[in-house]
Amino acid sequence: MKTIKEINEKIKKGQVVVVTAEEVIDIAEKKGAKKAAQEVDVVTTGTFGPMCSSGIYLNIGHSKPRIKLGGGICKLNDVVAYVGFAAVDICLGAASLPDDDPRNKAYPGEFRYGGGHVIQELVAGKDIRLEAVAYGTDCYPRKRLETYINIKDLNEAVLFNMRNCYQNYNVAVNLSDKIIYTYMGVLKPRLGNANYCSAGQLSPLLKDPYYKTIGIGTKIFLGGGIGYIAWQGTQHNPNVARTDKGIPKAPAGTLAVIGDLKQMSPEWLVGTSMLGYGASLIVGIGIPIPILDEEIMRYVAVRDEEIYTQIVDYSQAYPQMLPGTLGEVNYAQLKSGKIIIQNKEVPTGNLSSYTKARQIAEILKIWIKKGEFLLTEPVAYLPGPDSGYTFKSLKERQIIL
């Protein structure tokens, strides 16, 4: 048994033993979970995939004369931002688009430039063109504002993602006779390809399946800088079917994360265009898992072969909210490049970069080894499978006129 405090003492003294979630697998197999838990102090995880519920908020500082953007209209590089706040606070989501983007009118839409791209350019230090219209008040008389803004001049620039870092995700396929364009990529007809989106054995929440160490307040690698877990993510769904080892077999837990955008880098926040679907942002996240005991070691030692997920038809079942799946596969099968569905060999593609996930886990390992990154105790735990927390569908009700 170890405590986070003891691990932090080791980090400060330069005596900490840190390995990645990939490296720990062989260590646990060779030495056994008990001995491995004594020897290894921290396991680093990583993931790098499109995360559409990402966004930023900014405070641009007051203009002279003053303007109140709240209730007005604001665009950043033509992409529509949200200003339903006070005077100069602006919120931008990764999926936002310019008003004149044709969307899917020219099907499939290309979505070449959206909120995710603005976020990447802002982080890269590029000037962003701001255009705003306000209604004017006695204390905020100005009605129009056109200027460039730069991240270095902003009071605050904060990344806040309300749902990230999914604990497992579906494999998407297309059973129909026509090509479809989804957030899981382009899916060719009649089981032409199977797309998945997870770092599997490197993915943070798959390595702490019951949220025993990852909780609210946990310090993390976020977009190349330091961030924190703010809350459970939206659609957090801990109570799904799990394997004997407790690993969810379908999309389950999620995280809401927050961090200072000014420390982050365009290498780890990448604007994304999903053909026929929309704009998004690829986010790099890495979470350290303190090895407090043998049980935590057993969780982090889980390998791709032991992590299963569901194959879902995105031509009918997913859009129409129909229950049932086409079976389950593990991540070792997915990574082999082909899986069998309905007796057909189907090539697989990953939307989440395993190479980048590996790099994130390595960077976090180096930060901890150098003593630059101390671990945090969660201030509260995420709702677990027995919490009664569920993910509900919308109950539509008739509007009464």
């Binding site: 290309e110 382009v186 390809n193 265009s273 690829i282 082999s336």
Partner: protein, 135 residues
Amino acid sequence: MTSKRIVLHFPHRLVDQPIVYRLVKDYNLQFNILKAYVTPQEEGLMILELSGEENDFNKGIEYLESCGVRIQPLSQDVIRNEAKCTDCGVCVPICPTGALVVDPLTRRVHFYDHKCIACELCVKVCPTRAMEVHF
């Protein structure tokens, strides 16, 4: 035998000439058309896999150049912007010729440009638009 994938740019004045026919008839070359565009009043573009005896092949290329056709190897036209590629691999099952492949150990995505037929399916499928076509 020589076999190469080449991109031919035809100036406007050659668009109505039976140039490829001459390659077959006079130079004994085999061709497989991978892609062709003819834009009226502008220019023509054709991507060919051209094969034959080395001597014939070289003479055929000389003939094309003498007519005013601009020739580039295909591998220079479809490139991957390494700064944009994140090695995710979503392009891999989309590529019909196996030119995009995941390395099983490093999990990096390799682009084998000699296998590319410039179908451009990967271009719009790539979430970061890392695949670029420069015809």
